[in-house]
């Protein structure tokens, strides 16, 4: 048993390069070895969204950790960020158009960074999470999620929609 196996491998920025394959799949060269398909996991999806990113092969084996996306070269950082956006589908809410309770569903009409959407919740106490600060995670009945990064920072109309639900 080598000690390495039980240590976290942190990539040096120069050892990694990410790009997108012709088929639109995230790929890269790590320590000089090419991988046609890579998967990225956030180790701290709520706290550090662009740091401590676990890079894994298609089978899910960890190859190493990227400490900070910003340390990478421009192209790699761009692709990695894009891949994070695909894998962690968590649109950020830019405006809350309305929050209505219709019978026993709560319907949210939202504008997000990825376009307008609508979220339906069975109730608020199980489908709204408050991970800390002024952050709110909204979960749809079907599992779709949206994030309000800081509800205090939204425009006044949105805040007004939220007053009685937060």
């Amino acid at each position: 048993m080598s000690g390495d196996l039980y240590d976290i491998r942190i990539f040096e920025p120069k050892d990694v390069m990410f790009s997108r394959g012709t088929g639109g799949v995230f790929q890269g060269v790590l320590d000089g070895k090419p991988y046609p398909e890579l998967v990225v996991y956030r180790a701290f999806p709520f706290l550090y969204t662009t740091q401590y990113l676990s890079i894994r092969d298609a089978k899910g084996e960890e190859l190493g950790i990227v400490r900070d996306l910003r340390e990478l070269d421009e192209e790699s950082a761009k692709e990695l960020e894009q891949e994070l956006q695909f894998r962690y589908f968590l649109p950020r809410v830019t405006r809350v158009d309305s929050v209505k309770q219709k019978s026993d569903l709560w319907i949210w009409e939202l504008q997000t960074t990825l376009g307008p959407t609508r979220i339906a919740m069975r109730n608020l106490h199980e489908f709204m999470q408050f991970p800390g600060g002024n952050r709110i995670i909204l979960t749809d009945i079907n599992g779709k999620r949206c994030e309000i990064a800081d509800w205090q920072a939204l425009d006044s109309r949105s805040r007004q929609q939220l007053t009685d639900v937060v």
Binding site: T22, G23, E37, F86, Y88, F89, S103, D104, L124
Partner: protein, 730 residues
Amino acid sequence: MSIQPTLPEPIRARLSGEPLFSVKTDLSSDGRFGDLWFAVTDQEVTLWDADGEPSFRLDVTELSEARAVGGIGGGTLLADTAGGPVVIARYTAALSSAFGFAAKLITALAKQEELPAVSEKEFPRYCPSCGNPLAEGTQSCPICKSKGKVLFRMLRYAKPYKAQMAAAVVLLMLTTVIELVPPYLTKIMIDDVLQPKNTGSALLWVVLGLGLTSLVMSVMQTVRGLIGVWVGSKLMGDLRNDIYTALMRLSLAFFDRRQTSQFVGRINSDSESMRQFMTDGVIWVSGESLRVVAIFVIMFGLDWRLTLFALIPMPFMVLVSLTMWPKIGRRWYQQWRSIFRLNVLVGDSLQGIRVVKAFGQEQTEMSRYSTANRELVRNNIRIEGLWQGMFPLFSFVAGIGTLLIWYNGGSSVIRGDLQLGVLMALIAYLGMLFGPLQWVSQMINWASHALASADRVFEIMDTPSDVPDARDPHPIGTIRGDVVFERVSYGYEKHHPVLKDVNLKVKAGEMIGLVGHSGAGKSTFINLICRFYDTDEGRIAIDGTDLRSISQTDLRKQIGVVLQETFLFDGTIAENIAYSKPDATPEEIMRAAKIANAHDFIVRLPDGYDTRVGERGHRLSGGEKQRVSIARAIIHDPRILILDEATASVDTETERQIQEAISRLVKGRTTFAIAHRLSTLRNADRLVVLDKGKIVEVGTHEELLAIEGGAYRKLVDAQKELSKIKGVEG
């Protein structure tokens, strides 16, 4: 009825053949929200944009396999081609099932295997009329359902008591009418007795009349109050029963996802607020509305012009009530949520009180509590404050009506157009309107509180069980104990299978040891036998009968479990042993305990079999509790026995005693045992080695050990290594 939107005709016409599968995805390829149609024919995989233009096409012959790669909140459908993996489509989590199926279908097409059949279950379901998501297992859309439904459903609970409630309403009406008499008598007194200085017996009669009305009123109020209390308590009892029954009916999966202490509050406080509305609320509404009508009739009769002044503030009050209504409801819910969070917090830290104390984290817990507590205080003030502000406002506005009457009526009296008594009576009646007024705001409060509670209660009642009982269960009687797993797959979250394609035939009376790393699927395996969960694919049969067609009561009669975490209920040891057989005789209980190696230590206890074991049996040691729970399984006399890490947390001597007990217990029963220490399983007839949800090896201890580089051998070696280390440390 299909609730799935169908592929638009223009796209269909441009496909190479009949679509085998189509679904509307909700993300465009750049990961933004967007509607695209995805369709599969036997020759191609295609994606079409909202205008019906093709945006992606891949020939089936080009690809070797398709995979649905799940992300967080969404996923990607990938195809492996000769030129590397290709992204076909992206989707949000709502469509995971549909694309999981699509991946299987495309793979089967590419490999020219038998095509899987599509089922409605794969699609997220939306209400055909309003487009909102439908809950699993229901056809009725909660939004299109009329709003009054919750109210009516709640009122149904009052139905058995309608006679009593009607009596209460009638009494209330009578009191109302009688209550209206005194002001009228006062009017007579002023106009016909006091002002004309009538010295006859009239004064006495009027006073007697006043006395009589107040006596009758008190009697009726008492009777009405008693009826209210009686009906209310009964109603609440019914409600609590129903909620508890609904909870017990729900599957384990429901509780896995929730913190259980929250339900304590739900059962008690939610039923209380519903009760309050139904008894006090309903009776008040009928009584007070009548009172309002009666007061106005009398007032109009006395002087209709002056009465109109009293009506001036009414529209304003109605308007305010209507706008406040939803706000109050929301704030109640908000307040409820902060109580809920507080309860969860308390439940959590008390359950883990040992850990809290051990790490000296009382301060942290206290500060967590005070944060949540502050939030509750804030919400309390918000709702109560709103509520406290509303009534004075209403009173003030209504008071304006009184002022108008005073002014106009007063000048009429001075002019001699109006008798003083009439004015006084009008003012008195107007004062009586304040009662109903208070009721308006109180009623808003109660009703919104009750409706919010009812919503939550019915939510529990309406949650379909994940393991529904068969409509026409197959009677199994006493079974032999053959257990068969046929291509079983299961995941706690769909598309994350924990068990994959498991096939196993177990003969009656055989003892199977389940081994594997943690997370290999051992516990899931036995959870499926108990039918705590239903298989996603494949089936499990006992004596050839599918588990799903056996009633759960029948099934549980045949299965006994000894779990790692022994849970003893609040009660005596004897009661705990006889848990599954309440009519067990003392001898049976002792016999069972004897087999379980528990008899001796129990008898030695000062209270013997009558020793109370508190919540979680705190006064017994781990090994003792374990043996009591084995006795509990023995008295149950199951044909199938499940032992989940029964000896995990005890010392060697206790383990030997438990082992002995177990070996007596398993005799003649089909047994599935999970053990951390592989040595515990040496009695097993066969060992089943699980790895990442699949069966990798089956055989006896010796057979498996003989496989060079086999999974079992590795496990055994690893454990030997470990005990060596332990030996050195010791």
